[in-house]
Amino acid sequence: MTPLAADVAQRLKRRARWSGFEIAFWIVAFASIWLLPQKHLILTETAILALFALSLDLILGYAGIISLGQAAFFGTAGYFAGLAAKYGLINEPVLALLCSGLVAAALGFVTSFLVLRGSDLTRLMVTLGVSLMLGELANRYSNITGGADGLQGVTVAPILGLFQFDMFGHTGYVYCLIVLFVCFLIARRLVYSPFGLSLRAIKGNALRCGAVGIPVNARLVAIYTLAAGFAGMAGALLTQTTAFCSLDVLSLERSADLLLVLIIGGTGYLYGGLIGAVIYKFMQDWIATLTPQYWQFWIGLLLVVIVLIGRDRMAAWHEAARAALARLFTRAIGWRRGPALGGAGPDRS
């Protein structure tokens, strides 16, 4: 291997190395299990929202598909999980979660063909239309879904037959956090793989992708399907942790809020949805204690302000903040990333 080739190999792999910021983020996330037991209910919601936002980031931040209908997958899987538990079809929650994810992924696969072509507006309308159609269906078949009253009488069995859900949300939080972490690891692997690189390329220039031999449509179908599966698992988690599912899981507001969450955190680096979810939930919690009814106003204002400031400027701030956090973390535990940064680390290829 020539020195240049070695440098190239090193640089290509280095992007995927865990940074101090990332390690700190997950340590804090898991530490909250013990440090913030009284906040577990809201943290559960946060973890679910984070997973949901992660699914949107995969298609919007990496593949460039604007969607205002991610709730379609969230809601469908939410109802599936609820019905499965209610009628005892699948009792074990983890299995039910996986099945719900598969159902949502199947729906994502079928509808992915609708978003392959067309402008942003067309995609927006089609994704929105699909979720509204499902909302109408759920409303129409209220004998199954419970309609406006919601799906009642869902009882969720203990996880793996061992861990019973409790009313303080302790079990639920640990469960959701682990699912989020596993899904995140999968997404992280994926975006640093050749497949993930091709998605970024498609977002940048789909025409050129065809000209370097990338089957653009097949890639978009694949990522849309996977993202639908993640969104579905988030929906199933919500049903399982609340033992309830109502029509608003399919609503436009849910998809619109999701966009906001992701925008707060920033798109295209995976942590945007997670950080956005934390900020959003705690902001909601805080504002709700001040003016519960007009929460929406502040959400709207935030959106307007973010756009007026400019998302690229926001992204720059995010990056600076992350770098500062990472420095802080590195210093705090006296840990140096060592010479690997310079490219002299062990070669594993």
């Binding site: 080739a5 440098d7 290509l12 390329a201």
Partner: protein, 249 residues
């Protein structure tokens, strides 16, 4: 022996004829130039060959195989790649990432969603080789969007080359490149491996006559003259078409 052939290739947009009955044969290993005045349909021909446009009539054969109905990415996999007249690059990726992407797609790792990019030694080796061949070593870790124009043009060709084509279609590779960066670009084009067949579209007659061993002239979407460079240069009809344009080789 022809590696790439078109038979009666035609493209109409509504009432406008962009290409009419183009029958062209490009020999294996040739340095073939396609020239013609503005609006003659040169880029349309490239778009038809690469599959960006579907022809209204006619067929395209690559190594004797009919590829008329194939998608662009399938044609790339069969060994024909192109560059774009107006840069079509991945602005947010670095040149290295873009080249590694093209290489790993060609080697069939594109659907690999588990291993890291560059985990396969073959990808890194080949990406490094291409970076060197196209003089991109000093900028390979920069974002493509901020590269000097000449480097972007080099990357434009490097991306096509990374598909390891047997036929390479170059659409005005030197267009707009400032004089200072021009020499590097022309030298790189001249140094393309001899076994790669090149179809070149170019306005710059110096480049055409120094590079091509065969020239086809396209006028109003139709093939006008086809022959060796000196024959084409002497042809009075070509001179008439290029009235006012210099044509001294």
């Amino acid at each position: 022996m022809a590696i790439l052939e078109t038979i009666g290739l035609a493209k109409r947009f509504g009432g406008i004829v962009a290409a009419a009955d183009v029958t062209l044969a490009i020999d294996k290993g040739a340095r073939h130039a396609l020239i013609g005045p503005n609006g003659a349909g040169k880029t349309t021909v490239i778009n038809l060959l690469s599959g960006v446009l579907k022809p209204t009539a006619g067929r395209i054969l690559l190594e004797g195989r009919d590829i008329t109905a194939l998608d662009p990415h399938q044609r790339v996999r069969l060994g024909m790649a192109r560059t774009f007249q107006i840069n079509a690059l991945f602005l947010d990726l670095t040149p290295l990432e873009a080249i590694a992407l093209a290489v790993s797609e060609r080697l069939g790792f594109g659907i690999d969603c588990w291993r890291l990019v560059g985990r396969k030694g073959a990808v890194a080796d080949e990406a490094a080789e291409i970076v060197e061949r196209f003089h991109l070593g000093d900028v390979m870790h920069e974002r493509t969007a901020i590269l000097p124009y000449g480097k972007q043009r080099l990357l434009e060709i490097a991306l096509a080359f990374a598909c390891r084509p047997r036929v390479l279609l170059l659409d005005e590779p030197a267009a707009g490149v400032p004089e200072a960066e021009r020499h590097e670009l022309l030298a790189t084009i001249a140094a393309l491996p001899a076994d790669v067949t090149v179809l070149l579209i170019e306005h710059d007659m110096d480049l055409v006559f120094s590079f091509a061993d065969r020239i086809s002239v396209l006028v109003n979407g139709a093939l006008f003259v086809d022959g060796a460079p000196d024959a084409v240069a002497r042809d009075p009809r070509v001179k008439a078409v290029y009235l006012g344009e210099e044509l001294d080789a």
